[in-house]
């Protein structure tokens, strides 16, 4: 059994208006960061999972995402897994 450190990144799907992203982008422009575009504000969740293999961790994370972490109507997600030394 090993411990894995997992990072989950959740953002609104492409095409879904992100009101917070729009506000942050406007503020960036106002401050002179005029080259900034397509700002999206999302969530970053970290966790540790005990498992035999990285594949087991993958299954666990994807199942969790499906069950409640992510709302597929409006959100999409990516994740990273790293074994804890």
């Amino acid at each position: 059994m090993a411990t894995y450190f997992v990072k989950v990144f959740i953002t609104y799907r492409k095409g879904v208006l992100d009101p917070q992203g729009v506000a942050v982008e406007k503020a960036a422009h106002q401050l002179g960061f005029t080259k900034v575009k397509n700002v999206r504000v999302g969530k970053y969740i970290t966790m540790e999972i005990e498992a035999e293999t990285p594949d087991e961790v993958k299954r666990e994370v994807e199942e969790m995402a499906k069950k409640f972490l992510v709302n597929p109507v409006i959100e999409e997600y990516t994740y990273e897994i790293k074994e804890v030394e």
Partner: protein, 231 residues
């Protein structure tokens, strides 16, 4: 008749709904704690507003996996009447009893004010005491009421008459100007295809006594009573 009102940690309109049921309508209100799986033989369920589980993760995301919500889903599958108000609507969306999802208001602010709504479907168990096209005044109070769904879902719910109420002008005009939160097609409330599950962002329980400034919400509760008694 017996109204069931689930109470999640963070619900804050449960007693308001209970007040309307008991004091205004003279029926029985049964509070159902979130960890209960028994709906205690209620005739209909009203999922109240508030901030269930602090709206952690997403509004309604934690509440959808509560034991009481599972029981409500089973009740709805059997044809039981379920109405979700505000956070209750968000919970019904997250639980998959209604299609679509909520985004933060386009203004990014919490909006608490009276709005006008046009009744789009007067054939549901929740709205049959209204007239189609009638405009009612009911308050909203939310930060995430910006209704969205995929284009094919929008087409389907529009064609099926599942859009029950829309934000409008006092005269019933539908335009962006009278859309407080950015909802697609000014949608304020929808029902499922079968018509036994209804969710809306406005608070009819806050517009059920003259002292509150409007009684336009009361007929939603009366519609439910008549539907249940008739059945």
């Amino acid at each position: 008749m017996k109204f069931g009102i689930p109470v999640y940690p963070g619900s804050n309109c449960d007693r308001d709904v209970g007040w309307v049921v008991e004091k205004v309508l003279g029926h029985e209100a049964v509070y159902l704690w979130h960890s209960e799986k028994d709906l205690k033989g209620v005739d209909c369920v009203i999922v109240p507003g508030g901030f269930s589980y602090g709206d952690y993760l997403r509004a309604g995301a934690m509440a959808k996996i509560s034991p009481v919500t599972e029981a409500i889903c089973e009740f709805a599958e059997k044809g039981g009447l379920v109405m979700g108000i505000c956070n209750g609507f968000q919970i019904l969306l997250e639980a998959g009893l209604l299609p679509g999802a909520m985004l933060p208001n386009k203004t990014l602010s919490f909006i608490c004010k009276f709005v006008h709504l046009r009744i789009e479907n007067d054939q549901t168990p929740f709205t049959h005491l209204y007239r189609k096209g009638e405009v009612v005044k009911i308050p909203i109070a939310h930060a995430e009421g910006n209704y969205t769904c995929p284009p094919e879902t929008l087409k389907e719910i529009e064609e099926n008459g599942q859009v029950v109420v829309r934000y409008s002008s006092p005269e019933g005009k539908i335009s962006e100007e009278f859309n407080p939160n950015g909802s697609l097609n000014n949608i304020a409330g929808i029902c499922n295809k079968r018509g036994n599950v209804f969710g809306l962002m406005p608070h009819p329980e806050r517009a059920s006594e003259a002292i509150l400034g409007s009684v336009d919400g009361l007929r939603m509760f009366q519609s439910i009573v008549e539907s249940v008694v008739r059945a």
